[in-house]
Amino acid sequence: MSDLPTILLRLFAVVIVVFMLTPLLVLVLFCFSERSLVTFPITGFTLDWFEKLFERPAFWDALQNSLIVTGTVGVVSTLLGTSAAMVLARIRSRYVGPIMLLIMLPIMLPPLVLGVALLTYFSTVEVRLGLFTVILAHIVFTQPFVILIVQARMIGFDYRIVHGARDLGASHLKAFVTVTFPIIRPTIIGAAMVAMALSVDDFIVTFFTIGGGNTLPTFLWGMLRMDVNPTINIVAMLIMLLTVVVSLVALRVTRWRG
């Protein structure tokens, strides 16, 4: 049976869970509140604010840009990261630790520093800011996660079956497509989802590298600085929903591994 300290510790865990989740639930609640202020009492529920938001073309532009960026980042980051992780997983040397540290460097900096460094660089080498530069920037900070996830899976990989396929005459590519890939597919999909969740949520780096135009987070930022109206809630909730759904899919396909 549980004694007092254990009960107190569990109570603490419950308090922390409430602290972590309540703000998110509050947001969802107020998306449907009919009053134009985010305050209690909630006098009734409505879907009007959704309608108001969906009438704005700027919202659809931002959503489209977000989908373009996130989709591209998901594909490219996963391809680059997976191929790099394949090489990395086979290196058996004392330099693996330092190499991993270098790979992690983009996510050990404050996002603000990465954002302004890229802004300065892009304007010096005269690359026009736009979705292209946002995608490049997102690839840089999602790469470490993809590599980390895929490399962790490849560490325990049994290469004998790949060698078997090679001995039977399969090319490197064929051996990868027919043997290696099907085995590690859940991990790769999971890594892609993590990269996409991070990309769709990113505000700081996007803010500095986008020039004009908007993704959902920068659109939300614009609204925060100008309007006071409940459609803000809905944009904020959509970003939350996108990241949470994508990461839940990631958990589901990887079944908690990696």
Partner: protein, 281 residues
């Protein structure tokens, strides 16, 4: 390693190209310009420490304030994260997995979204005030909830907590139950077991959690801007201003690297402290 495998190192080339061109080159350039100066809105090559001197001179108040806040957040969050991870690992039984699941949900959920929600929760006409008013607890709205350092600490703690729990939980997971039970059987108090057996085995996870919180809080500019109000002059806000229309990128760079430098020093000191106090016996 067979030659056939070694010859496929080229697979890492696309990654390396992006890493060098879009990360190393920008960061090096950004570092170099911290020694340059800006004349008539253009960067001019130079080799002076003037920007750093100016950073320490003109922004020392803001730097100290930023690191007071960031350090507070890092200490609070790391402590909460350790206790929570400890409960998940040792005390929650079959509820461990659902608890971890909550952490992963909270980990995502949107950066700007969370800051915005805290703004609406703490605001003068916000969730807390209207709820308190409705319950008849207060007659006038409480104005001291938003636009102050405490609001910044709450918001950033909420954001970094899931981030801090994961590395600590990762470290706790690899600790075996047997030595802990043995220590208890031999008469060690609960507290001694945690202090002498558990903590020394997860000190790397704790340091990672601490560093993540510190770096993130010290470099954030959105939270002080939206939550902190005009008197919360954290350095991130000032750095960001240097990259606007009338900004001085060279100055901004020196300020950014000063922040990184201070972060590294603090992490080194805290790391040394953790590794001395929690020794593996």
């Amino acid at each position: 390693m067979t030659p056939a495998i070694r010859s496929r190192g080229w697979l890492a080339l696309p990654y390396l190209t992006v890493y060098l061109l879009v990360f190393v080159a920008p960061l090096l350039y950004f570092f170099v310009i911290s020694f340059w100066r800006v004349r008539l809105f253009r960067l001019m090559p130079d080799a002076s420490l003037a920007n750093y001197a100016k950073t320490l001179e003109a922004h020392s108040v803001s730097l100290i304030f930023t690191f007071e806040i960031a350090f507070t957040i890092a200490v609070i969050v790391t402590t909460l994260a350790f206790v929570f991870a400890y409960v998940v690992r040792f005390k929650a039984g079959r509820y461990g997995t659902p608890l971890l699941f909550v952490v992963l949900i909270a980990l995502f959920g949107g950066y700007l979204t969370k800051i915005y929600v805290w703004k609406t929760i703490l605001g003068q006409a916000g969730v807390i005030n209207s709820a308190l008013g409705l319950l008849g607890i207060v007659n006038e709205p409480i104005t001291f909830l938003l636009y102050n350092p405490v609001a910044v600490v709450i918001t950033l703690s909420h954001y970094t907590l899931p981030l801090a729990i994961l590395p600590i939980y990762g470290a706790l997971r690899s600790i075996e139950d047997m030595p802990l039970r043995a220590a208890r059987d031999l008469g060690a108090s609960r507290f001694r077991v945690v202090w002498d057996v558990v903590l020394p085995q997860c000190r790397v996870g704790i340091l990672i959690a601490f560093s993540l919180c510190l770096i993130f809080a010290a470099g954030d500019f959105v939270t002080p801007l939206l939550i902190g109000g005009p008197y919360t002059s954290m350095i991130g806000k000032l750095i960001q201003l240097q990259f606007g229309f009338h900004g001085d990128a060279a100055m901004g760079s020196a300020m950014a690297f000063t922040v990184i430098g201070i972060c590294l020093v603090v992490i080194f000191m805290v790391g040394t402290l953790i590794f001395t106090v929690f020794r593996v016996r």
